[in-house]
Symmetry: C2
Subunit: 406 residues, 2 copies
Amino acid sequence: MILYIIIFRKRDFMDYIFSNRVSGLKPSAIREIFKYAADPTVVSLSAGNPAPDAFPAKALEEISARLMRENPTLALQYSITEGYTPLRESLKDYMATKGIGKEGDDLIVTSGAQQVMDLLTKSLVNEGDEVVCEAPSFIGSLNTFRSYGAKLLGVPMDADGMNMEALEETLRTHDKIRFIYTIPTFQNPSGITMSLEKRHRLYELAKEYKVLILEDNPYGELRYKGEDLPTVKSFDTEGLVVYAGSFSKVISPGMRVGWCVAPAPIIQKMTVCKQGSDVHTNIWSQVLCHEFMTKYDFEGHLRFLRELYSKKAEYTLKLLRENLSDKVKFTDIDGGLFIWCTLPEDVDMPAFCLDAVKNKVCVVPGTAFLTDENEVSHDFRINFSTPTDEQLKKGIEILGELTKKL
Amino acid sequence: MILYIIIFRKRDFMDYIFSNRVSGLKPSAIREIFKYAADPTVVSLSAGNPAPDAFPAKALEEISARLMRENPTLALQYSITEGYTPLRESLKDYMATKGIGKEGDDLIVTSGAQQVMDLLTKSLVNEGDEVVCEAPSFIGSLNTFRSYGAKLLGVPMDADGMNMEALEETLRTHDKIRFIYTIPTFQNPSGITMSLEKRHRLYELAKEYKVLILEDNPYGELRYKGEDLPTVKSFDTEGLVVYAGSFSKVISPGMRVGWCVAPAPIIQKMTVCKQGSDVHTNIWSQVLCHEFMTKYDFEGHLRFLRELYSKKAEYTLKLLRENLSDKVKFTDIDGGLFIWCTLPEDVDMPAFCLDAVKNKVCVVPGTAFLTDENEVSHDFRINFSTPTDEQLKKGIEILGELTKKL
């Protein structure tokens, strides 16, 4: 009774009023599933983590030991907001090899590429402004845009990337668009890569409508077959493209190091926002990334990763071909970490995913990646980098059984 | 000529339009001075860095080497947004020893305490809402509040903390106040500690006016003399106080690890915002903080820091007494890293600080810490943790000469 009263008074005293921008926010469906999939008996095809054996652990152990022994103060003292100067320089050189970074551009080191989404949206987007997104797109970015009160405008995806007619129609009919968000290469979640022709068209449309482009490229180095395509940023002679890079998929996500190449005035605003957000990115991890890029075989490590994931991708596609009902379609990917599966129109996808989880295999329902989560989706996302081959086999066999019941 | 045209077209093509919330933001004066003071011939009394010999470098080197050798995947893989579970538990235990954390509270690990300011403001403050701040207060926090469009309401400081009559008047006459920001112990920049009586009064006023309190306590462990005072959070039976803690001054700022204890519904919103900001805090540094707190002599290290800074503080106060003109007043501190100096009413403080820098000693003008930077200030801030004793002597002797010319 006393307990009851205490609880009652506690709840009664104050209900917390949150800002408009966050009142509607829900925790990311992926990260919720992430926790759910922690149940060891569930085969999780729902994460997006690098494979445990993908980390250059030995090299990072060496670098870290040397740093903490020879120059601990560098790792432990305050640093500058823009990022560890040697890393900024090595990143500028690395970007230059991809044609990224023209006169007038600058580079900031961020706490993962996620922080690029955060700092850029904070710098550019007023509540009620619009952001054009691929539909589907990466839920983490969509939620960041939403968290600043942005209205999301979804543009459907074709097999070769954003539908350009729909994009132009959107640009023509809306006047509060601040930027177009795209993951042109091995997109999360669809696995789709935008064609060269569409990359040029996208840039031309942005130029014509004087809208910025936010190009997010975490998977660009993970191509298993086919020719590399130039980034949209590499066309950028007018200062229209903000480029987000990340070490999460090629060195380590736990270190939280990403970067942004953008016109200097934008980088300056993002830097002021970063001062107020986390002052600077963990300096130990910035030093490790710089040393690994410049004193170790970074290129060799990328080749190792491509081989590792290529094998897993081929194996997964084989399992999907062998086990899934012909009624289910899936993307035949050239790189990245994700495969997008599409159920027949007459199938209730959420019910299917729920059924799957009850049968101990976890995938991400396509609705999680839509700009409007109330829209109907017949898709779900499979990740093949995190599970072991045994888990992939078991999980996809279960999915296969379920699809054959459709 | 060609260059001219290029530049002209570049600038002509697009002037970037920024969001209302950041359009007015300027880089933090401290961090600008920070860079300026990088000139090795300038004695910098303007920073707020821990002393280089204040880091438990040997212990952290040991812990880091063990972690990277025995469990690199833990340090390198994605982790959860709320923070590394063992660290959250050890922080909850640590906070409990200070009476912090009641039923209904929760704890999140953040990327420095700066991120607490960011996530809380984002969660609570609509553009045009009001935040009550001590005047003067920590510029990093003030700029974060501003970056979400908050209107800052300054409450003057007495020798024993915020003026409570002015605070009540402010609470009575404003209806959009979301929280009261305070650094009650060894405040940055003033060095002032709020009396026990005023801490109780502050809590009672917050309760009466149903306004939250954000208690920022980075220096609480750095008391050199006198009795510890209870935190405002330790009075919190109604879920009114959000507490920000930090390892920056007691372990290392470069690691960027802080934490927040607050009512669970607030922590939940902050967690969603953190997902969109940096996903999670660098995991290596979270493990190091946990191991150092639980397997090493954290208490002994705090005693070492108190002794180290106590000596420097006493030495600095002695130098100030010996060198400054009697016309200049300064706080006689019991802890923390800062001393607040007040020039006579008839002296132009900004001109004095500029003169000082020209004479190779750098201090922070008091205006930088005001909620309204256009107000007149006769104060400047001295830091004694970063400079060597030799630098303190040289710098304060120069300041002394200048004050005697007044």
